[in-house]
């Protein structure tokens, strides 16, 4: 075996990456650094995926949300000439196993046939559809939004406002585990990112709008990496943030005052309390994306117990990267994508 040589490596071997989110983009960049020709397809008009809609969540200092890393990698992949990017493209069929995969793509009305030696599925996740939790009133009450809505509001409108009247909300409640750790809807898994994600959002909001008071309603706070403890302690010390272990069962809406009423238990006081909020933010969990579901059918892949894609054995030539193999934050998606890139490279080398 020889070491990789950038120039004559694996000529004729091509890797098809399905999904232009942070995982797909990272695999593409890693493999193209090794000189492997890449075709990256994305069903939306532009690459970036879910993570590219996130805003920077810095407060006094960086809170390590990794949103900026995503932007940087996306612009890097766009500039690279050796990566073919096909947007608004979907996979409609695939043939072959091991050896060569013949994949049929659909771009608008056009059908494209492509031969690939290896396939990487990085079709990502969808945020849980909060309308299914009818009791929280998402979709019925204007001031009940998801954390993703809030994130996009901060990124694209640049300010915090209440959807019903555009005013700055004074009190906000975050509901954790909407669509995660919930057997009643069949999602018996933790989405692993929402605690840190919501707390970073809260911290960023508290920094920008010190008058806003936030209540964080949770089951168990899940850690996220090295500096999380310090970060969590700073949240605990913040007088404007209440962390309460209790998930409310229902949101009541008062049409006269536009306020939302919620009942939850406050363990420290040992009683049920009622709180009114201007805005309720649902921390929605992760579910396998629709696109990933149809892909796993096309490629004949199985699911894990939790309903994510079970990575097939490497010999199949089909690899799974990022959160569609199980919930991951940006940091871990990048890491997972890098390890997938390594596996793909090993596979291609083993064949040639």
């Amino acid at each position: 075996m020889e070491l990789v040589n950038k120039n004559d490596l694996l000529s004729g071997e091509e890797v098809l990456i399905i999904g232009g989110g942070i995982a797909g983009v990272t695999v593409a960049l890693e493999l193209s650094h090794l000189g492997i020709p890449i075709t990256l397809i994305e069903k939306n008009p532009s690459v970036g995926g879910l993570a590219s809609s996130f805003c920077c969540k810095a407060s006094e200092s960086c809170n390590k949300c990794f949103a900026c890393v995503v932007d940087k990698r996306i612009s890097e992949v766009r500039q690279r000439k050796d990566i073919t990017i096909l947007t608004q493209t979907e996979v409609v069929g695939a043939k072959g196993n091991g050896g060569k995969h013949e994949v049929t793509l659909k771009k608008g009305k056009e059908r494209i046939k492509i031969e690939a030696s290896a396939i990487v599925i990085a079709a990502g996740i969808d945020p849980y559809d909060a309308t299914q939790k009818v009791e929280y009133g998402y979709g019925r009450f204007k001031n009940v939004i998801t954390a993703k809505d809030l994130d996009e509001m901060l990124r694209y409108q640049g300010k915090l406002s209440r959807p019903s009247d555009g005013k700055l909300p004074e009190t906000i409640a975050f509901f954790q585990c909407v669509g995660s750790r919930d057997e009643s809807i069949g999602n018996l898994y933790c989405s692993q990112v929402c605690c840190a994600y919501a707390l970073r959002l809260i911290k960023a909001i508290r920094y920008q709008y010190p008058g806003v008071r936030v209540t964080f309603l949770y089951m168990d706070i899940q850690p996220a990496g090295t500096s999380f403890q310090q970060f969590l302690n700073s949240c605990r010390e913040d007088k404007g943030i209440r962390l309460i272990r209790s998930l409310p069962s229902k949101v009541y809406y008062s049409p006269f005052s536009d306020l939302l009423k919620v009942r939850f238990t406050e363990a420290t006081r040992g009683e049920v309390v009622e709180g009114t909020f201007d805005l309720i933010v649902l921390s929605v969990g992760m579910v396998l994306s629709q696109g990933a579901k149809s892909l796993s059918q096309i490629f004949g892949l199985n699911y894990t117990e939790d309903g994510f894609i079970l990575p097939p054995p490497d010999q199949k030539g089909v690899f799974v990267a990022g959160a569609c193999s199980g919930p991951k934050d940006i940091d871990r998606s990048i890491l997972h994508a890098k390890s997938t890139a390594f596996a793909v490279h090993q596979y291609l080398k083993g064949r040639s």
Binding site: M1, E2, L3, V4, N5, K6, N7, E30, H33, L34, G35, C62, K64, F66, C68, V69, K72, Q79, K81, R181, E183, L188, Y189, C190, S191, Q192, D220, I221, Q222, P223, A224, G225, T226, S227, F228, Q229, R245, T265, A267, G270, E271, V272, T304, E305, D306, G326, P327, D331, R332, I334, L335, H336, K338, S339, A341, F342, A343, H345, Q346, K349
Partner: protein, 572 residues
């Protein structure tokens, strides 16, 4: 005076022809401008060919492009490998479209702004310097410090990719903390057997040179020229010159116990694992007595690390399922954010494991040889100030605080890496993407950065292997000289820059011919010491340039004159 050629890009109509014409006419009188050419779309193949033709004549030494943002051109040709007959760093872009046309409402103002932008670009162009690409051969050799599970898996993955690995381990045997594990939480296979297999695989791999009872004594040089002095068990020394270094020395644990934790019926999670592994009878025996109730106390330490929760739930299921014990878990927050953990948690509750989530730490007392644990049940809604739940347990299992490996600080200063706030190796910079350290060619992985569960460690190990392979691919590292340079004559040896450099790219060496700060005549024959930047290690951040009191350091691609040229137009 440098001869400058000008290309005006119409950007497919974004800059109207009349505007272009007017702009070119103002440049007529300038002595440095040797020609100007207009193109409708400069990035089109035909235009690029015409441009190449014009440049090949050699009339122009520098080029100014009047058009859109530098990104437009970087992405299309210059700096990205289009074979132009001029060094890419000799191109200066005047972004007239965005800085003048799009930002000014009034046409007169827009033209004035465009004129200044172009004049500025011409002035800057005359100070631009070519930057050559250099390359450094890299041989496929990697030094891995630490023979724990992280080090082993990286060594194995790299060895399979035809990289020769030197695996350095301080102790006598491989495996590290992972050998304390009996069972995985998410796999049927026994962790012990799997570890033994993995270790024997390492021993059988010929491209892994195992150096046990050895440690790193000294590291010199930078990427591609690392010189690592190793002190071996038999007190002999050897020098390695690896192309990349992976630090994976793992973490340590706090063994000292105070207060109730010093009691003999309080054991750690790893001791419990050993007890369970050794239990052959239907029930576990501890100190000769049958164990019936076990209480796990979590989150007193390691509140942000998921491993304790995982191990406690796993062990409590074994106790409850195979050994007819009652298990109780006390925690602040149960960490279920690992794949499959929520299901395990559910299973544990179904099997009868009791969970209490405390706010105030539980109290312990001894009652008839058993430990009584009093905990407030925060889930109950009774308004009561007393401690409602008392558990009599035969054993209390606690998590041991994870600490940085005692080697960490020493290695850190040997390798010039950064420590994070808790004494682990730093990864705080998201831009460094976890496994990269502040120095090029040195990676940090596994528990010495942050203790993690094995399945996550294995993913990380592969990611490190990928990083190393990317670095070593092609056996050559190419870099350009857009880095800091020291003028040795001006250097006063104040040691400001080596201390400040975040990437340890600056050293002091005796190479200066002359030094203004030293009285001549003392010893004319020797060379003087001066700071030296290694271009391979330098990231071109410019911190040293800003801090050097003698102004002896400049950025090759951004000399002071270039910045002054830009500033000259600011005052109007």
């Amino acid at each position: 005076m440098a001869r400058i050629g000008i290309f005006v890009d119409g950007l497919k109509g974004s800059i109207p022809p009349s505007f272009r014409g007017k702009l070119i006419s103002t440049l007529q009188g300038l002595p440095e401008v040797v020609f100007s050419a207009e193109e409708e779309d400069l990035t089109s193949p035909e235009a690029l060919q015409a441009m190449t033709g014009l440049l090949e004549k050699g009339e122009a030494e520098r080029v100014v492009i009047i058009g859109g943002s530098p990104k437009t051109y970087e992405a299309s040709f210059y700096k990205w490998g289009y074979p132009l007959p001029l060094n890419p760093f000799l191109f200066t872009i005047a972004n007239v479209r965005e800085q003048a046309l799009w930002s000014m409402v009034d046409e007169e103002e827009a033209f004035e702004k465009a004129r200044i932008t172009v004049l500025k670009a011409i002035r800057m162009a005359s100070f631009s310097r070519p930057i050559e690409t250099q390359s450094l051969p890299l041989k496929p050799e990697v030094l891995i410090i630490g023979g724990g599970i992280t080090g082993i898996s990286i060594a194995l993955t790299l060895a399979r990719s035809a990289v020769h690995v030197f695996l350095l381990e301080r102790g006598k045997t491989l495996g590290g903390k992972a050998t304390e594990l009996w069972k995985f939480y998410n796999r049927e296979e026994e962790a012990k057997k799997w570890m033994d297999q993995t270790i024997s695989e390492v021993l059988q791999t010929s491209s892994i040179t195992l150096l046990t009872q050895s440690r790193l004594k000294r590291l010199d040089g930078h990427l591609g020229r690392f010189q690592a002095k190793i002190l071996k068990g038999d007190d002999t020394e050897m020098t390695l010159s690896p192309s990349a270094i992976v630090v994976a020395v793992g973490y340590g644990v706090e063994r000292e116990r105070r207060g109730i934790y010093g009691h003999k019926r309080v054991i750690s999670l790893s001791e419990m694992e050993k007890l369970l592994e050794g239990t052959k009878s239907p029930f576990p025996l501890y100190d000769g007595k049958r164990v019936e109730t076990v209480t796990f106390l979590l989150d007193e330490v390691n509140e942000d690390i998921k491993m304790d929760s995982i191990n406690a739930v796993k062990q409590s299921l074994l106790l409850q399922g195979s050994f007819q014990c009652q298990a109780v878990i006390l925690c602040r927050d149960l960490k279920v954010s690992s794949d499959g953990m929520e299901r395990l948690y559910r299973k544990a509750r179904e099997r009868g494991v009791l969970f209490f989530k405390y706010e105030d730490p539980p109290r312990f007392s001894m009652v008839n040889g058993q430990i009584q644990v009093d905990v407030k049940d925060t889930a109950s809604l009774q308004k009561a100030d007393q401690w409602p739940v008392s558990i009599l347990s035969d054993l209390v299992v606690i998590g041991e605080a994870f600490l940085p490996n005692p080697e960490t600080a020493g290695l850190c200063s040997l390798l010039n890496l950064h420590l994070g706030s808790r004494g682990f190796f730093m990864e705080d910079n998201p831009q460094l993407l976890r496994v990269r350290s502040n120095r090029r060619g040195i990676f940090v992985a596994g528990g010495c950065r942050f203790p993690q569960e094995i399945s996550e460690t294995l993913i990380e190990a592969k990611a490190v292997a990928q990083e190393v392979m990317t670095l070593l691919s092609g056996s050559i590292y190419t870099y350009d000289l857009s880095v800091a340079e020291v003028d040795p004559k001006k250097c006063a040896l104040c040691y400001t820059c080596p201390r400040l450099c975040p990437h340890s790219a600056i050293t002091v060496e005796k190479y200066a011919e002359k030094n203004v700060y030293i009285t001549p005549g003392i010893s004319d024959r020797t060379k003087w010491g001066a700071a030296k930047v290694d271009p391979v290690a330098c990231f071109g951040c410019g911190i040293c340039v800003g801090e050097c009191p003698a102004k002896a350091i400049t950025l090759h691609h951004e000399p002071d004159e270039l910045i002054y040229a830009q500033m000259g137009f600011m005052e109007g």
